[in-house]
């Protein structure tokens, strides 16, 4: 089965503005969903989406139909951009430690007041990056296990392990939601 994005990409490569708009309309919601959940920051997610499309415009003239699925490639590009930002955050946090001691995560402090969606997002952000990535790709982006593993550069077994550990941690963090 051919890649559903191939035809649009070839028109983008020819400089067709309608095709560029159509590609943005088709892919932007998925990019924002991916980057928003990986970064937990709307403004940064928008920046990632813009940077990812700059790479799309450069890649379109060289895209080889059949070599890879465009959606898979785009997920990998966006994730690389997200990881760049997560790395910079860690470096900044390391270079500029907080003046007050970090009181650490505490599910009962503050989080309880947030609505369910915000609590889920906070719980997602508390996961190790690779566990969060696995859950975002499989649950929210609805990639199949083989495609998600390819995007992450891991085996399907490793993906399954990341998903299982991530979901167990989320269940523990959100255990009171069922009872509420």
């Amino acid at each position: 089965m051919g890649d559903p994005d191939d035809e649009l990409l070839s028109r983008v490569a020819r400089g067709d503005p309608a095709a560029s708009r159509a590609l943005v309309a088709r892919k932007l919601p998925r990019l924002l969903s991916l980057a928003g959940r990986m970064l937990g920051d709307g403004a940064e997610a928008e920046d990632v989406a813009q940077e990812a499309f700059l790479r799309v415009w450069k890649q379109a003239p060289r895209w080889r139909p059949g070599a890879a699925r465009f959606d898979t490639w785009l997920h990998r590009v966006a994730l690389n951009l997200c990881y760049d930002r997560l790395r910079r955050r860690r470096e900044t946090a390391y270079a500029e430690p907080p003046e007050r001691p970090d009181e650490g995560p505490a599910p009962d402090r503050g989080l309880q007041a947030l609505d369910t969606g915000r609590r889920v997002e906070a719980a997602l952000m508390s996961l190790p990056d690779r566990q969060r990535e696995a859950i975002v790709l499989c649950h929210y982006q609805e990639l199949g296990n083989i495609e998600a593993a390819a995007v992450m550069g891991v085996t399907v077994e490793a993906l399954e392990s990341l998903l299982g550990r991530g979901r167990r941690a989320l269940r523990a963090a959100l255990v009171d939601l069922k009872e509420a």
Partner: protein, 137 residues
């Protein structure tokens, strides 16, 4: 499929078997038929977390974000560029080389032709080939 494997898959992929890996669904159906009550409990537990995850709504972005991004797409080159650039590139590069050789002979150091549009196009192509190695390799 063992019951343990069924639980592992529910833990990883959630309570909706339709979202499990293709290769495992048929065997999962067999387990569900053999132990329906137990299987439903396992799936319901996983489904609770699925329902919680669904409470996180996707980011929508600023209203004009799509327009701003689409505006960054390169426009089509004018028709004349299709034949002018390839024809001009060879001549331009030859001229740039000749000028460089002459200047180098005169001054001992060849300057860079930064204002030569053909040279700029060639430089952009070089930059792009580096990008492809990084991103698409």
């Amino acid at each position: 499929m063992t019951p343990k494997r069924f639980e592992t898959l529910a833990e990883a992929f959630g309570g909706d078997v339709a979202r499990w890996p293709d290769a495992d669904r048929e065997a999962a159906a067999t387990v569900m038929a053999a132990e329906p009550a137990w299987a439903q409990r396992v799936l319901a537990l996983a489904g609770d977390l699925d329902a919680a995850l669904a409470a996180s709504t996707p980011l929508r972005g600023a209203g004009d974000l799509a327009d701003r991004i689409a505006a960054t797409a390169p426009a089509a080159r004018p028709r004349w560029a299709g034949w002018l650039l390839p024809a001009g590139m060879g001549a331009g590069l030859a001229a740039a080389c000749a000028a460089g050789v002459m200047l180098g002979a005169q001054l001992g150091a060849a300057p860079t032709a930064v204002d030569d549009p053909d040279a700029l196009v060639a430089a952009a192509d070089d930059d792009f080939s580096l990008y492809l190695d990084e991103e698409a390799g």
